[in-house]
Amino acid sequence: MKFYSTLFLVSISYVLIAQELMIHTIPQELCNNAHAVLRNYEGRFEVKAIDKAIYTEHRTITILSKEARLSGDFIAFYDQSSKIRQIDYRIYNQHGQLIHKANKKEIKDQAAISNATIYSDNRVKYYQAPEQITYPYTVELSYNIEYNNTFQFPRWFFLLNENIALEYSSFEFEYPKVLKGRYKEHNFKGKTTKSSTSTSERIKWELQNQVAKKSEPYGAALEEILPSIQLAPSQFKFDDYTGDLSTWQGFATWIHELNQELDPLPEEFKKELKLLTKGKNSLEKTKFIYQYLQDNSRYVSVQLGIGGFQPFSPATVHKHGYGDCKALTYYTKSMLEAVGVQAHYSLVYAGNIPNKIDKDFPSNQFNHVILLVPLSYDNQLDTVWLECTSQTQTFAYLGSFTANREAFVIHNNGKLEWKQTSNYQCQDNQTISKTTIRFDKELNAKIDIEKHTKALSTDALSGLQFLSKQKQGETIKSYLDLPKAQVQSIDLYTQHSEHFGLKAVLSSNNLLNKIGTSYTLIPNICSRHSFIPPNHKNRSQAIHLHIGYEQIDSVEIQIPPQMSIEGLFEPIQLDYIFGSYQAKIKQLANGNLLYTRNLLVKNGIFEATNYKDFLHFFKTVTHSDRKKMILILTEP
């Protein structure tokens, strides 16, 4: 039986025969390791004018198992400047028989505001296949989206996601010659066809018979593995604004111009700031302003139209005491400039994994804004970076969220400068601990711990300062796995922006474990590694370690007077390309024991063949960190 699919805005018409929807017609090799197979996946993005673009999609996908359910659902986002039309959604069973066609009422429409945002005009239209559907089934869906803004162009992933195989996919890009649309191919080894009319350019990419791809732990991001076509405009329109994105400088100029329109800080406030910072040098002024920002503002994200790129004005932030990263950064910049300190609005891509900006392809690759203040700080730093959205972040410290990456800095004359944010290598992220344990005759132990963290390693400890004294104690006891210990004192200290330290004194009467006539004790009291990477056989991707660190620990133990040492573990040493580990315990001249430990995990990219060693390394470290020593009574 033949039937016709719905015709789209720009006629991609074809005939789909029921045979093709039947599951058994999918080549077997495509089904291996796939949770779904894209039978036919076609997309088209046509820029008609600077204020009109249309995205059309037609997708026929067979869902083999539950894991891929989402890729067979209809989900499309829109906002004030776009409209979704002509939604068609059909489900076929494994014999190619139509079992359901979604009607208009079934397609849900709701606000799509992320948890971090208070308000935005983002909405989503969606329809999900019923919960109790029988697998496998095939979905055929199509829709189009009309855009009035031409700043952000879609990126076409031929395989849609991981664990999805492909029979056939095509993507077409058409734009008026005068608007000079741009594109970049990623991992694409298919057919490209270019054509043009008198007014427009058209490119079509086709790919077929692709097996499913899969991400691996510590591997590259999916965007780097999957074949895709990335698009970007040259000239564009965003609400009432136009710009040129074909060069990085063009983008910087656009952002700069958006910021120029903003209402400045009230004059009285500027005067007040000048008065409050009178006599201070630039660094002191910066510290003062940053403290003022943290004490008097809070993060509120409102993204509406151009407000996604243009901040609230400094006047507005000052009036309401809130703003998002753009607004708070620009506000801080204005405050600093009011007291004579230069500061620059800088875009970054924030996230715990530092990404690399693709310099070849100017496009919006950013999601956050921070502030660059070109000052040297106590001979430790030559640049001060400020995170303006946090009420608690240490001055001039960038955590893993924005460290180790390139920032897009916009100077006051609109000129762009690429600058590296705080660069923390493995030996910068150091934790040094010194512990002494003293036992009395009743086997009560007094434990003195001193832990000093640097750079990114401060993140693990610095949260303690925001807890109540009681909660601090509970957290420390839980971390040491000594729930019954008594906390005598806790002292926290910050030295400079990149250091954080802890001094704690605890007492415990069950540190020693009695087994028969012996007593055991784990000397590594406060640095027990517990994370082991997941097992992965037949690894093919390189290992990406984004953050390296170093731990240097020593524990001196004064054993109970009535005991002597029965057994100590052998020293251990591991050396690999990605890290090293040493742990040993020896007896000192004064009879005390000294346990020393060094763990170094490097950052970088390492060949896949190292994964077996990588796993073995962390297993050994975890096991070795919990090795016991044995004591026996010499006197009853």
Binding site: I113, Q132, Y299, H623, K627, K628, I630
Partner: protein, 642 residues
């Protein structure tokens, strides 16, 4: 399930409105009020409510309204996000009197910043709901925010409930209700906080040309602690300090008019549903539309239980829908239905097969416990089937695909359910039919090179099996095995097979080489013989306990392991045996390690029989788990034979 909606729109409520003169105005706090406000009983808290005021009454356009005014102080940066407040309401409910302000104190002065329209964003959530997203201006540590609003919300049958307790401490909570005195409400006070005041006063009210008395309720609670969830406790609904209302009687001024029926006991409630309710009326007919299908499911000679099983399995295959069908026959034809429709179809088909099946109304766990004293149909939120064959009874829920015959979904296990029949008031215990067990059997060999290898068999029954099955079904076998491997990173897994005989009985076999359980120091080996613990972490670490302790279902954990040790080693230390029991055998723990030849044998059994405990039992439960964790850490010592 359709709730009996009592409409009082026939009431002539012209020019009627009841509202308080008690509500406080926004923006009137002094410097002292703001700067000295503190939560003395919990000074470390990041925010607290200074005052929380609520009111329910009838607005001039005859709708029930809810008015709320609160004052909140933020004392730590962590709680700054409380200055973002969202009010979600039905699109058709009017929201009015939306006012607010922020107070700040500095250098002896107070500044008040008013909430403006530019701080309020309206979000159209979907076709039915709107959200007012409010962001208070100028909020910092030490600020007090005030918000007031009134929204058309509530019904005459259950007004608006009020929570005295919040996620932050509340220094003072006050709730008023104004209703004509001919409407009498049953009040249900939930939670563990004593109210300072709970009174109803008669006051004058105006009804069109008549004057009728108003019942003015006042409820006050002070110094309420923040609600903090505790592990293994009853549902939040039962713990949070709150008040709920249910219409009990309508003493209509015109005695001849009586369009309202409110049952005086649960027996009457059940009868009334059977006799008067349209939805429940669907159960009164016969299921002739199913008779043909029934003939295909079983033969007349088969035992009743088998017939019932087959009918049950058949209905379980139906699709679950959110929308009701116009009648049960349509649902049957479509092989689809809502939860209630599926169970109704089940009951009708069982009856058609000549079996004794009745519907039971229950309240699921998260919906809270039923108040047995005060009949209220709204307390129920789910319907299941009660089948009696001979002297055995079975509880069935056809709305869940994976539960076998007689095994209720866990969320149904919530004390008792009410039989809906034209008969005496009957409550049925919703107790688990099958025993839930986890049986672990392992056999391992410690080699000369101190590597440990062998296999582990896991056998699950009852809810232990069902939960594992549901999880397996959710993520698939591949991901399940991956997760297992990730949880046991020191195991090099050779083979992992999963066998599910039925959702209530499953088995797993893992053969692996295991590291990290053996440590050699000098000529001694320390071996930990636990390869699948009962608990990883102590469930009750907090020193104090406010709420009762509830476990999900009675469960038994049986662990046995046999470990063959090398010939040149001898066991020189075994952990001591243990055999403890909580009062009345509520929970028991048995641990025994032994050696036979060159084989170590360890047997452990943990039985949780009783699933509900009072706070007085808390310390005993803590000690119980302390002992289990201690024994799980215990090592066996082997010494090299000279």
């Amino acid at each position: 399930m359709r709730i009996i909606l009592i409409t009082l729109s026939c009431l002539l409520l012209n020019n009627y409105s009841l509202s308080a003169q008690k509500a406080f105005a926004i923006g009137k706090l002094s410097y002292k009020d703001v700067s000295t406000a503190m939560c003395s009983y919990n000074p470390d808290v990041p925010a607290f409510f200074i005052k929380d005021y609520g009111e329910t009454g009838i607005s001039p356009n005859r709708k029930i309204y809810l008015r709320r005014i609160f004052r909140l102080k933020i004392t730590d940066k962590k709680a700054l996000d409380l200055a973002n407040h969202k009010i979600t309401h039905p699109k058709n409910s009017q929201i009015s009197k939306l006012k607010g302000c922020t107070y700040n104190t500095r250098n002896g002065n107070i500044t008040i910043t008013e909430l403006k329209s530019e701080n309020i964003f309206k979000i159209k959530e979907d076709k039915d709901y709107l959200t007012q997203a409010i962001t208070f201006p100028n909020v910092k540590v030490g600020s007090v925010i005030e918000l007031s609003y009134e929204v058309e919300y509530g019904t005459y049958t259950h007004l608006n409930s009020w929570a005295f307790q919040q996620d932050y401490p509340v220094l003072y909570s006050e709730y008023h209700v104004f209703m004509p005195s001919f409407l009498n409400y049953q009040r249900s006070i939930k939670g563990y906080i004593q109210l300072q005041k709970a009174e109803i006063k008669e006051e004058a009210g105006v009804w069109g040309d008549n004057s009728l008395t108003t019942n003015h309720h006042t409820y006050i609670a002070k110094n309420i602690p923040a609600f903090v969830a505790e592990p293994h406790s009853p549902s939040r609904v039962d713990l949070l300090s709150a008040i709920e209302f249910e219409l009990k009687t309508v003493d209509w001024p015109d005695l001849s008019y009586n369009s309202v029926y409110i049952p005086s006991n649960y027996g009457d409630l059940a009868k009334s549903l059977v006799l008067n309710d349209e939805d429940w009326g669907r159960l009164s007919g016969k299921a002739s539309w199913a008779s043909k299908t029934l003939k295909t499911l079983y033969t007349a000679e088969e035992k009743d239980k088998n017939k019932a099983k087959k009918i049950f399995d058949f209905v379980k295959t139906f699709q679950k829908t959110e929308e009701e069908h116009s009648n049960l026959q349509m649902a049957f034809k479509a092989k689809a239905g809502t939860d209630d429709e599926l169970n109704f179809i089940l009951i009708l088909m069982l009856r058609e097969a000549g079996l004794d099946a009745k519907p039971i109304l229950i309240s699921t766990r998260s919906n809270g416990r039923i108040n047995y004293l005060f009949p209220n149909v709204r307390q129920f939120n789910h319907c299941i089937a009660y089948l009696v064959i001979g002297n055995k009874s079975y509880l069935l829920d056809a709305s869940e695909t994976y539960h076998s015959f007689g095994v209720l979904p866990e969320y149904c296990i919530n004390d008792k359910g009410l039989i809906i029949h034209n008969g005496p008031e009957t409550w049925i215990d919703l107790t688990p039919y099958q025993k839930s067990k986890l049986i672990v059997q392992s056999k391992l060999k410690l080699n000369d090179d101190l590597s440990l290898e062998g296999s582990l068999d896991l056998i699950r029954n009852g809810y232990t099996a069902i939960n594992s099955y549901l999880h397996l079904n959710e993520i698939g076998k591949e991901q399940y095995k991956k997760n297992w491997a990730n949880k046991h990173k020191f195991w090099t897994i050779d083979e992992h097979t999963i066998v599910s005989k039925s959702p209530s009985r499953s088995g797993e076999k893992i053969s692996a080489a295991i590291e990290n359980q053996v440590e050699k120091i000098g000529n001694q080996i320390y071996l930990n013989p636990i390869f699948h613990a009962f608990v990883e972490k102590h469930p009750f670490e907090a020193n104090t306990r406010t709420y009762p302790i509830h476990f999900d279902y009675p469960e038994t954990y049986t662990y046995s392991t046999k470990i063959e040790i090398p010939d040149n080693y001898k066991v020189t230390n075994l952990p001591e045996s243990s055999n403890v029991s909580l009062k009345g055998g509520a929970a028991t723990f048995f641990y025994k390690a032994g050696v036979t030849g060159n084989q170590i044998e360890l047997n452990i059994q943990v039985k949780i029989k009783k699933i509900e405990y009072s706070t007085e039992d808390y310390t005993h439960l803590q000690e119980f788990f302390n002992l289990i964790l201690e024994k799980q850490k215990a090592t066996i010592v082997l010494t090299l034979v000279p």
